[in-house]
Symmetry: C3
Subunit: 318 residues, 3 copies
Amino acid sequence: MGACDDNDGPADARRSLDVLVEALLASYRSDARGHRINKQHIPSRDQIIEIVELLLQVFYPGYFGRQDLTDENLSYHVGELLSTLRQKLAIEVARCLCFAAENGGAPTVGKETTSCELADRIVADLPRIRALLIDDIQAAFDGDPAASSLDEVILAYPGLLAVTIHRVAHELHRLGVPLMPRIMSEWAHAQTGADIHPGARIGRSFFIDHATGVVIGETSAIGTRVKLYQGVTLGALSHPRDAQGRVIRNAKRHPTVEDGVTIYANATVLGGETVVGEGTLVGGSVFIAKSTPPRSRVAMKPPELHVKEDAPAVDFEI
Amino acid sequence: MGACDDNDGPADARRSLDVLVEALLASYRSDARGHRINKQHIPSRDQIIEIVELLLQVFYPGYFGRQDLTDENLSYHVGELLSTLRQKLAIEVARCLCFAAENGGAPTVGKETTSCELADRIVADLPRIRALLIDDIQAAFDGDPAASSLDEVILAYPGLLAVTIHRVAHELHRLGVPLMPRIMSEWAHAQTGADIHPGARIGRSFFIDHATGVVIGETSAIGTRVKLYQGVTLGALSHPRDAQGRVIRNAKRHPTVEDGVTIYANATVLGGETVVGEGTLVGGSVFIAKSTPPRSRVAMKPPELHVKEDAPAVDFEI
Amino acid sequence: MGACDDNDGPADARRSLDVLVEALLASYRSDARGHRINKQHIPSRDQIIEIVELLLQVFYPGYFGRQDLTDENLSYHVGELLSTLRQKLAIEVARCLCFAAENGGAPTVGKETTSCELADRIVADLPRIRALLIDDIQAAFDGDPAASSLDEVILAYPGLLAVTIHRVAHELHRLGVPLMPRIMSEWAHAQTGADIHPGARIGRSFFIDHATGVVIGETSAIGTRVKLYQGVTLGALSHPRDAQGRVIRNAKRHPTVEDGVTIYANATVLGGETVVGEGTLVGGSVFIAKSTPPRSRVAMKPPELHVKEDAPAVDFEI
């Protein structure tokens, strides 16, 4: 089965393979896009995902990675973890910087800053980030009646995983490391269904319940004690274009969400000028593209429903 | 590249690492939340996922795991499978119980019940659960014109995977096993995009088409022959809080969906009092927080649309 | 812990295991559905996923798989890649064909066509498919102000991954290969949140932003330069049933989307007769089940909102 060479002899098979190979090589030669041939530097997605997994062990020791941690072995464990993490970070940060440079991108970090310094800055920042995450865990537990313990939040809440990765990716983005933050955030998106752009600014005690379908755009600004449910979009209005008709890559395109706001399932908030005022509750499936006053309650006037009784199913259209 | 120790000598590098380690240790010491240090018991997420994969082999032999099953080798294969499954279940159930006890949680199962007895109960229950799953497979095939065979449903329908895991997780939840059911349901959520809380009660012949974005809350009650499409939420209204302002963790918060109901894409049904009457069809994007009569057809009055012809794109806002 | 045999002696444990095994065997014997026992042929999901990963290396060399590609080693690398891919494809295509035949399905490819010929046709088609994908990459970059480079699109855009898999799965579907296309598209769905049926016809320069929750039905027809956002459904109205009350598995059930259309987040377009006219912009959360004229702008009349200021949170219902 599948011993295809026997069809018409290995020689013919080899020849036909040569033809297929040549066609593909022509496809690579014909266009510089879509391949990395004769280039030296590319970040390793696998290594970046390993970095993410090491970060989870650093933030939540005993929940992720080694489970038998005690006061005796802890410092050795953490020392080994951090030294590995620092090395991997430095290597991948270097690859991302060289990759961008090789592609002729404008330098995103000062020439004098080495990848090792950047890696050290990230590692030195982990305790501060971890303090934020502890508040996020508590916010999830306090905000969800179905949560039975903080442990459950750490082990089984996709919203916490998404925010954990975001808080690191945002730091890398802020430091000007190219590509790595987006690869991290996309990994989190695939795991959790929540797509948070590394550029988004998010305050303390943030909670996303259920997570699937949440999209938080690059220039969103979110205050403290904000709670989002599944399917919430913080998005842009249609993109302004330049004279050449290309989309303009700058300016605030996504909403500002002030402290203490809750946005229920599948609500959509659009526009860089839009400010959801402090303490506002935005109801499920609400669609808004303008600002709301502080402490307001925004609910959709329930759309009029047609309720037909005992109609045959075949009559029914969705 | 990344040989950071060479920057300023290994000694300095070592010293700087010590500083980073110390800062992190301080972060662990300062707060009991977010780590499991000097604790003995924690469930292994990896082991629980292995259990899930063994369950798929038990429910759908030949589709998952070993493929050369015959009447001769079947009983040996199943015997080995079940003995492995039973051992792993007993170990992880014990870990979950000890974990909860160590955290001072109220005992969720009778003191006299051993983890081995709980594991045996689950394993003994698998044939009953499997019979439900066969009905679920048939319901998916009967309900989707795009399904070309039962095999396709078993191998490629995320809704079936989500329901398969749910039916086991619900049993574990019912038996009072902490954490494991949520870790299982969250694994299924990550695979399928459907977030079904282990507490939800779901009748026979259940089908979720496309699955992504479906959320079924903890206290939902779903009858037989119910069909949901992507993005359907069976959710809670805003949570009542106690005198201390903490959410109250009890009482029915999610809807009841009676026999033979179909709920189309992205519809939202909210509230513990809400009953979707037997045989009702709920249209796409409908938003309801009150009960519907049996055999009714609930469709959204299509929201008035602005249709502008030949307007320049730049004028357009989403 | 978990040494369950010690409870009541290994002999008893063995006996109790025998009972559990027998109950499960009875479950398999009682119903032909849900197992593949005494059957010879089943496609290997793992092998099909390996094929998908090889395809990514073929389409985007240097981004996926080996990273040190140069003009010297390229042809050897590609030759090895294609010969492996061709073998694996031929084997799995054969398995899928035999599997369907064993299940008594009507033959989906001409008797004379061998699995090797089918594999060769797919491989020979890869350069054409790759050219389409380059346009998709460019469309994503041009359509998203947050995209900083084509590299970012290739490495971190779920929409591109979903379309990449779709363009191959659609070819396999067109050639009549059973099961494999759906297993591929479901793998992509799990990775990206976008559920594109292999049957859907999609033109050049297609872009799905954020991807999560997008559903594109089997008989959808999509033109060139179309852009979709997260949560967009191209779906069916309620399914017509035959005299026996079984859904009819044919006819166009899903919309036609003409060239240059943009459909914003969470919009729903339903029905096989529905044609979204060339150049139309469909606004976020719009719900339509009838055709729109060319170059029109379809926006939802923003649903009337209740805005209550300074209302206590407890009063608020989602």
